[in-house]
Amino acid sequence: MKAFAITAGVLTNTLLLTAALLWIDPFAGINSVLDAAFGAAPKWTQVANIARDPRIQDIYHGEHPVITFQYAAEFWRSQPGKRRVVLIGNSQMFSLSLAPGEFPQTALEHTYPDLVMARLESEGVLTYRLAAPGLSYSEALCEIDYLLGHPDLRPSLIVLQMNYQTFWNGGIRDSLLELLDDGSFRQQAKQLALSGRPYADDFASAIAKYEERDARPESTKPAQQYSFGSRFENFTRQELAAVAVFERGHRAKDSFEEMLYRARTYLLRIKPSTARSIQGPQLTRSQAAVEDIAESCRRAGVRLAIFTAPVNPSVSLYRSPEDKWRFDGFIRAVSERYRLPVADLESSVADELWGRQLNGPDPLHMGRRAQAAVATAVAPFIRKVLKEE
């Protein structure tokens, strides 16, 4: 009897302590201690109250593309005769990191794609911000091909952000797989997977994952049906998801990943702003994806323009002059081959207008005044490109 009582005690304490850990999120506390110890910028510099409007922005940042595109299509249908401009890029387009001298405000903040919209709306131009964190060019190709394949979503102009750091990224995130529910797009993606292009594996892997979700027994994999084990697991997960303490698990995971990121930044001094040389498969994959974005747009008769993303002047992302030369050379080559208008905004924002990331300069995310400055540069560029049509 004593053993059973001890068992009950051990199990009860384990469950209570697990719930307590999920609730208090110990990793968030460790992050605060690390930030204080290494002199990170105050948390309020990372602005949270940014304007959200699903009609003109991907407010889910690549997590729910189908519903995102439905919102855009509905809005565009309600605005006949207006020209549609889609700006595609990474988190620079939807984040705001306050620069020295800038302070939080109660009014909603706007990033530069929204400010561009404000400037051009009266001229019959609707802009749409299609941005996701760490967007790879394979993902950009996937989204653009989807847009071009749907008349409701076909824009007049696509403006693609070219960022040296983005050439480092590859793959297609799982959340974009829902685009493959569309049969004709799935066929197109399969063709890309078989194209032999350097990014083809990204599409092959995405299709494999998509098909695995709808798996049927194959000789090489264990047979599984939607058996009662699977149904009971679904039921258990649904029930647990409704429990508040389990909901907080996602927050704890973010904190844990941020803790690792902080450890990397503070202890190993490897930051997003650390200069790097991009070569090999990542580079060729990204370059091929950008070339094929241009080719897709050319075939669809949709104008494509590119601009180099603003970069914090106090940070050098290139490890060697060859890296810069290679990046510039590629942009020059692709713009010449496909006759793409180019805006060079890399040095367009002064260093005092940039925010701070943890305890160093933020290489990518800009302050409030910088957003306005970039909008001032991008709006006339779009206007000019649209006039040239």
Binding site: A3, T7, T14, Q224, T284
Partner: protein, 473 residues
Amino acid sequence: MFNSYAYLILLLAAVAVFWLLPIVLRRWYVLALSIAFYASWTWTYAALPFLICAGIFICARKMAARPRHARTVMCAGTIVVLSILVFFKYWQFLVDNISAILQAFGQSPARTIFAVGLPLGISFYSFEAISYLIDARQGRAKNLSFQDLCLFVTFWPHLLAGPIVRVRELVPQLGFKKQFEINMLIQGLDRLIWGLVQKNVIANNLAPWVDMGFLPRAAGANTTVDNWFFAFAFGLQIYFDFAAYSNMAIGSACLIGITLPENFKFPYHAANPVEFWSRWHMTLSRWIRDYLFFPVSARFQRSPVALSFSLVGTMALMGLWHGAGWGFVLWGVLHGVYLVLFRIWERMGTSFPACHTSRICSLALRLGTVLAVMAAWVPFRAATLHQSLVMLSSLAIPHGLRPSYSINFYLVTTLVTLFAALEPMLASWLRSIEKRVVAPPNLFLLRPAMYAFGLLLFLIFDDRDNQFIYFQF
């Protein structure tokens, strides 16, 4: 499956009921649980392990009744079990290879008119069935009742992916006569929760990087540094994935008072290739050694060359056991070659004892073993033989030394490598803390705190799509 919420919740309930039941009912209860566990994955093949049990049960009876024909009956039984395994696991592989040969001779390729799914755990329970037949024939196992035999083969903790148990290890425990002790709970939870952490936190977080690096088109573009990191990343992923499964299997069994054999003993700390196989998937390597290598090598004792070939052949078959693909065979062959080279090295040791026993030599051998084992994982994981050869050649012949993937990949792989290197020390440190803390705080505070932290990590890294790698074998 062991890392699903449903399993963990049902396990606690099932264990509670087990200890409340009278001893006489426990065997039936565990058998019913094992059937339910297997059928919870798929009904289609739920009868298969029992059909195999029925087959070997009849064979064992025949062997006992007619000892003169025992060898023939044993061979027939083994052939039937192996045929079932080949049918389900290697049919498509055979068809593909026959097609390739036919095409090479300008003939139209062979076609298969049916496709079969792979029954879960078939490689494992087939080997257990064969081991029973051989043990029964050699008098190492007495004739079991059909219930005992079914329990031995289908006992749920080891049914899907081992450990591969022997009759004499498990059957004496299947009376379930032990009284509940708190140690059963503690040891069971220790293993179960550590397994959850190994799987969800370590193995699953390496998986996306490994998937990216082993994409067929990436193989040619990866640099030598990339490929070494991918070899290490996969070697660590499969270790923590399979060790996690084994820990959870051992932990689950422990909760009802059953001790299963260990499957891993810090394999990457092996001093040489022979030691590696006494630390990696220990229950499979002893099965292969006892039921395949010893009988085969006994015929070649006088011929070192033939013995070496038999060693390589045995390892190649072990590779093939893992999956229907030439990459698995190449993995086995590489390990066979490592073992042969080590035998040669040992023989050389008699000529140069000073060098052989020096610290530098043993350190170099240890390092060489780790590097060779990691390199051998490349064909195991690569999609095609061509990809394996491209990546393996890049490991040996420098093909660019710059890293071409995100810095996070190299950092995560390095971090996990360090963890694997320090794992034995951490384990003994934890044991020493445990011994120092007196019973009540240990039971009611220290252990629940450790379990809670493990569960927290398991929950936040939960990913139900990431199955155990060894499920596909």
